[in-house]
């Protein structure tokens, strides 16, 4: 696309056409005192070399995830992304992630999306998955909206051990819909009476596994209770690698499963872009948001891939679309899919095992430190530790010692005094034995 700047004549013509004599008139609705009447106060122009040097100096003040023993999780996990992933996603065939409306020229992208959907449906234990959502939290919000469309009820019951940022996104989205959210009090141990809250108004119950504090649960009983009231069970997964080791949400009876797919292929990326996963049962496929890719046969009987059920979507039925979540994380789905393909089922299971084994070792070693308590009865690769003092300053002191020791829970619950000593510790395959030694040693020093 060429960039053609407007000439003064162009501007004059446009202003004349809409009957305005000067461009300032377009801003006449803005109160005078709100208008800026002098130049913006910016530093004078610097050379490119100077700017680069400044930014290098700023960057050097960071302690980056890859430069230190790293134990931070809380919904985004540092995993090793094989070099093959980056090489593959940069191939020209994949360089546009734009929605492939024309199947005749987009078979490569469509096939990749179809395989992504298949992988997501398999790990979640569900019938059908879409491709894809922005990220885990927006996928969770979409799941709540979908449950209302299906049940024609409005009340969503949200677990107190769901990731607090997911709760925020659900609240933000449902502020503009008819949904009503009932947020449970924080449940550090994952124990809460959700079953007792389900009534005839309930559209869905939203839970997370492993939950925000790392606890693992089997939601089979909850699923039964939810279904008895003709409501839906939504299970959120923020660490998909866990599914290589634990029972899938589908096996527990979930109706909608959403997740964050960042752990596979995507990397931490400074917090985004990530990739939202979304899967459901076949019977609900028409109420599912987002794009679906299907496999079919062409006129010659050859296998081909196409977008399907598009009449639910906003490019055909704008105001009646199942959702107006209107873009996708195409390149991240591709990265996820390539990473998953490289692992295969055996590799995926092995990766999960390594994560859990390392986490178990660290949990035992931390629990042996004076004044340190591991709160979880169960966990996958992340657990909650109670320190003898506030966790946030401890983490700062660990940073001074070159260790990124975990996520202070107070970071996400700044006003809850009862949580200020809690530290979330995540351990993945990227943590070496030396890294574990370093954390245990430095934490011991800091707590002295």
């Amino acid at each position: 696309m060429r960039y053609l700047p407007l000439t003064p004549e162009d501007r004059a013509q446009m202003l004349a056409k809409i009957g305005v004599s000067h461009i300032d008139e377009l801003f006449r609705d803005v109160p005078k005192e709100a208008l800026l009447d002098k130049p913006v106060n910016l530093p004078p122009h610097a050379t490119e070399m100077q700017v680069e040097a400044d930014f290098r100096a700023f960057a050097a003040r960071n302690l980056a995830a890859g430069d230190a023993p790293f134990f931070i999780g809380g919904g985004a996990y540092r995993h090793h992304v094989p070099a093959t992933v980056d090489y593959m996603i940069q191939r020209g065939e994949f360089l546009t992630a734009y929605t492939p409306y024309q199947p005749e020229i987009s078979q490569g992208t469509l096939q990749a999306l179809f395989e992504f959907q298949t992988q997501v449906a398999q790990i979640f234990g569900m019938d059908v998955a879409n491709a894809s959502m922005y990220d885990g939290s927006t996928a969770a919000a979409e799941a709540v909206l979908m449950a209302r469309r299906i049940t024609r009820r409005k009340k969503a019951i949200i677990s107190g051990s769901l990731h607090p940022q997911y709760i925020d996104v659900i609240n933000c989205t449902t502020a503009f819909t008819e949904d009503v959210t009932v947020i449970n009090p924080v449940a550090v141990d994952g124990v809460e009476d959700l079953i007792g809250q389900i009534d005839d108004e309930t559209s869905c119950v939203v839970v997370q596994n492993p939950d925000f504090f790392g606890n693992l649960q089997d939601f089979s009983q909850l699923a039964e209770a939810v279904h008895e009231k003709k409501a839906l069970l939504i299970v959120v997964v923020t660490e998909v690698v866990s599914l290589g080791a634990i029972k899938s949400p589908g096996e527990m009876g979930a109706d909608i499963v959403v997740g964050e797919g960042q752990s596979l292929g995507v990397g931490l990326n400074f917090g985004g872009p990530y990739v939202g996963l979304f899967a459901t049962k076949q019977q609900y496929v028409r109420q599912m948001p987002g794009r679906l890719c299907g496999v079919t046969k062409d006129a010659d009987g050859k296998r081909g891939f196409v977008l399907t059920l598009s009449t639910r979507e906003q490019h055909i039925r704008r105001e009646k679309a199942t959702s107006n979540i209107c873009t996708n994380a195409g390149l991240c789905t591709l990265a996820f899919s390539i990473h998953m393909t490289l692992l295969g089922e055996a590799g995926f299971r092995k990766l999960a095992k390594i994560n859990h084994a390392k986490a178990a070792i660290l949990a035992n070693r931390l629990a042996a430190l004076d004044g340190v308590e591991v709160l979880n009865k169960t966990f996958f690769n992340e657990f909650t530790v109670k320190l003898p003092r506030q966790a946030a300053p401890v983490v700062e002191e660990l940073v001074e010692r070159g260790v990124l020791g975990g996520l202070p829970v107070s970071r996400l619950y700044p006003d809850d005094k009862a949580l200020e000593n809690l530290l979330l510790v995540a351990v993945t395959e990227t943590c070496s034995d030396e890294d574990l030694d370093t954390l245990v040693h430095e934490l011991k020093e800091v707590l002295k």
């Binding site: 024609r152 028409r286 009449t311 639910r312 055909i316 039925r317 009646k320």
Partner: protein
Amino acid sequence: MTTYYTDEHEWIRVDGEIGTVGITDYAQEALGDIVFVELPEVGATHKKGDEAAVVESVKAASEIYAPVDGEVTEVNDALEGEPALVNSSAEADGWFYKVKITNTADLEGLMDADAYKKFVEGLN
């Protein structure tokens, strides 16, 4: 029994206080292969003009509007497994739902078969 037609291409066949609602042959022809019909819930009440159902073809998804005020008494479950019934038999086996008509005056503004035929000819 009398059948009435709307300018949105729904028909309603009235038998006493019960009306059977569907879309016209003209409508199914215009929509093309129908792949899904989202039916209302039994017991739902509609005002005339409310969105009562959605019909989805390979080309588009369209709303079906209630031709009269009333309460849904029955839906055509056969459409769930075989939406193509709407194509093959739009004005008989492909009916959508039955409604208990609460306000018979609603029928007065609708077209009879002849008027609808002329209306459709005017569209072509």
